[in-house]
Symmetry: C6
Subunit: 78 residues, 6 copies
Amino acid sequence: QDKAPERWLPNLITETPQEGFELAVKLSRMGVKSTQPDKEVLFRERAKYAQNGEALMHASEVVAIHFQTVAAANSYWK
Amino acid sequence: QDKAPERWLPNLITETPQEGFELAVKLSRMGVKSTQPDKEVLFRERAKYAQNGEALMHASEVVAIHFQTVAAANSYWK
Amino acid sequence: QDKAPERWLPNLITETPQEGFELAVKLSRMGVKSTQPDKEVLFRERAKYAQNGEALMHASEVVAIHFQTVAAANSYWK
Amino acid sequence: QDKAPERWLPNLITETPQEGFELAVKLSRMGVKSTQPDKEVLFRERAKYAQNGEALMHASEVVAIHFQTVAAANSYWK
Amino acid sequence: QDKAPERWLPNLITETPQEGFELAVKLSRMGVKSTQPDKEVLFRERAKYAQNGEALMHASEVVAIHFQTVAAANSYWK
Amino acid sequence: QDKAPERWLPNLITETPQEGFELAVKLSRMGVKSTQPDKEVLFRERAKYAQNGEALMHASEVVAIHFQTVAAANSYWK
């Protein structure tokens, strides 16, 4: 019931830094999904940790790591 | 009631290292907000972990990761 | 009963960013396996932390670190 | 009662690696302060986690991340 | 009774990415050993955290960080 | 009673990768000491977390981050 998404990451290039940040958020979620593909569990767990400051900071950390990659791929949009 | 902020990250270039550090703080918060956009929950949780040394250090860690990106984008302000 | 896999990582080059992401997921799992080669324990533990939001975010973090490496190896697929 | 410090980070260049390390320690603390500017809370929490080995290691981790940035900014003092 | 290993890290160059990954695993273990050289304690603790999914993921994270270093040292085996 | 060590980090260059690894271990400990300079507390806490697998892995993680810096400073001893 939960097919792997096809072609969700065609490339790392984005128009703006902000779109790069949004891509980093997406990469972070796809990393979670790679371990737990079941959407029901994902939504249940996301609802829980979205209520918890420490967990939210951890989510922000993963976004930060991916943003490093996306920013480098885009030569920092310079 | 909580619209996505438009154009909050036009670019990664800052005048000084200190403004770069402030941008890293902002990126860290936007990472939290990307998982929990509800401001009420954000304020409640921030109030809690701002009282906890371990959580504060985790916040500082995320700032450090983003500061790496911003500093590289600015060629370390050299 | 659990032989070390032979030649599971011939190189870091992938056709697309998405295949690079999948390689990062694989590297993350091989890192776990390097500490615990027993498949039965691996499956038992994976089943447990796949039900836990915090643990899933940690898995996503390890994928993010490996994705940095794979992306750099592929010159960000530019 | 707690004004933001003005011009605390003029640049990332230091004379020696050791001064660079001290700057990394400072950046780590400013990251904590960016989330909790109240000095009384900062001192209370620092006193607590300075007594805890795990928390001390976390502080050391944040210093390590900032030291990467400062070292790169100084071309590793070569 | 537990002598420091002599010349365990002659260089970071490996023939293949997979050998580089194995070196990363070794570096991760030597990092643990640098804090706790007593083999008996090391084996006891490894046996414990090898049974715990969260701890296994942490081990995988440290391997990932070292693999970044080894991969860069080998110019990503290109 | 606990004077700051003078000139403990003259430079990041080492003869061999292994000495670079030992420098990374030292940097990790100095990071802990920067938060808790009291040797008695340091020894007490180190004794505790040296008995705990999770804490040991965290120590190894900080060594890994510093080893990245030292390895880059030495152009990976190539």
